[in-house]
Symmetry: D2
Subunit: 138 residues, 4 copies
C-alpha cells in the first residue's frame, strides 16, 4: 500500500533547494500537491523582479511531489511554462499541481502559481517519465 | 548605439539569484550568451540530483542576457524545457543561448545546457516579449 | 460592443482547413469554445492512427476561435501539446478551449481533446499575441 | 541491420494525411529528415493564411519519420511549436528535423520550417517515446 506521507518525507527531507526556497507543503495526496513560498531578495533578477527560475522551481517542486505521489519514482521529462505576471520580494506564491492523466510510463500535470491576490503568475505543464521503481523502500 | 557590455552589467550586477548560483558569463554578444556554473549541494533535490529548477534557471539567465543583448528590454513569455540527462553536485554546466529569430515584438532562442563531458543535460527553447523600452538609460 | 457570433462567422466561414476537417462549433462565448469533429481515413498516419497534426489542428482551431472571441485579432505564438492517447478512424473528438488569462498583449488558453468515452487524447496549451486590430470591421 | 529505406516506405506508404498534404521527402537518414510541401487554398484558415495545424503537421511528419529512422517504433509524446512568420497559399515549406539526442526510452528533435526565401516560419521541438518494438517486421 502506498503511503503518501512517506513519499513526501522521502522527497522533501533531503530536498536542499526546496528548503533554500522556504517551500512549505500545505496539502498532499495522490495526484495533488499544494505548497507555498515567499519571494526573498536573493531570488530576484537584475530587473528587481523574481527570477523566472524561481517561479519555475516552485512549480517544479509541486510537480515532482505530485507525480511521485503514487509511489512510483517519476522524473520530469518535458515542461512548458508561461510567465503571465511578475512578482517581487515579499510576495507569497501559492502553487497547485493537479493531475491531468497518469498512464503506465508517463504522467501529465498542470501546475498553477498564483499570488496572494489570487492572480495567476505562471502556468506550468509537466510530463514525467515513470521509472517503475518505488520512491521509498518499504 | 547599443553597448552590449552595458546591457550585461545592467542585468548581471543586481541579479541576486544568478549570483547565488555562481553564474559566470564567458561570452556575450548580440543574440548570443555563453555562461557556466557549478552544481553545489544546496542545488540538489530529494533524490540527490540537481533540482530541475536550477538547470532551468541557468538556461533562463542565459536566455535573458541574450534576448536583452540588442538593448531592448525583453521578458520571458513562454519557455519549453526537456530534461535529458541528470547532473550531480560538482558537475560544471556549460550553457549556450543562440538566437533563432528576433522580430519586432518577440524573439526566439534555443538554449543548450551541457556537462563538462559535452553531453546534453537539457534543451530549452524560449520566447521573449520585447517591450520596446531600453535596457539601460543612455 | 463585441458580437461573438460575428467573430465566429468571420473566422469560420472562410476557414477552409477547419471545414475540410468537418469541425462543428457547439458552444462559443468570450473566452471559451467547444467543438467536435470525427476522424476519417484521410486523417490517419502510416501507423493507422490519427496523425498528430490533426489532433493539433482541432485544438488549434478551438484556441483560435476562443482567443479571438473578445474581438481583438489574435495570432498563435507558442503552443505546447502532449499526446496522451491515440485515436483512430471513426472516433469523435470533443475539444474544449478555456481561457487561463487574457492580458493586454497576450492571452493564454488550455485546450483539452477528449474522445467519446471522455478519455483525454491530448492536452494543448496556447499563447496568443493580441495585435490590437479588430477581428471584423464594425 | 536497420534499413532506413524500409522504415520510410513503411511509414509513408500508408500515411494518408501526409499524402493529402503533398509531402515529399527529399533527404532521409538515421536521425534526420528533410521534406517539403506547398500550401494550397484548402490549407488556409479564416484569416487567409496557412492554418497553424498545417505547419505543425508538416513538422510533425518530419519528426515522426526522423525519430523512427533508427528502426525503433517511436511515438510523439510532447511537442512545442513557436509560430514565427505567416505563410500563404502557393508558398513552399522546407522542413528539416534534426536529432538533439536519442536515449533508451526517449528521443528529442528540433524541427525547423522555412519558406523558399529561407526565412523561418516555425520552430518545433519534439520529444518521442521509444516503444522498443520494431517499425517493420524483418
Amino acid at each position: 500500500m502506498n503511503d503518501t506521507g512517506k513519499v513526501l518525507s522521502t522527497m522533501l527531507d533531503k530536498d536542499n533547494f526546496s528548503k533554500w526556497m522556504g517551500i512549505v507543503v500545505d496539502e498532499y495526496r495522490e495526484g495533488y500537491c499544494k505548497l507555498h513560498y515567499t519571494i526573498t531578495e536573493e531570488m530576484l533578477n537584475g530587473f528587481g523582479i523574481v527570477h523566472g527560475g524561481i517561479v519555475f522551481s516552485g512549480a517544479d517542486s509541486a510537480f515532482a511531489f505530485a507525480c511521485n505521489s503514487h509511489g512510483v519514482l517519476s522524473l520530469a521529462l518535458d515542461v512548458h511554462i508561461s510567465f503571465i505576471r511578475a512578482a517581487k520580494a515579499g510576495d507569497r506564491m501559492i502553487v497547485e499541481a493537479e493531475e491531468i492523466h497518469t498512464g503506465n510510463k508517463t504522467s501529465f500535470y498542470n501546475v498553477t502559481t498564483k499570488n496572494d491576490a489570487g492572480e495567476i503568475v505562471a502556468m506550468f505543464k509537466g510530463t514525467a517519465y515513470r521509472t517503475g521503481k518505488p520512491v521509498y523502500e518499504s
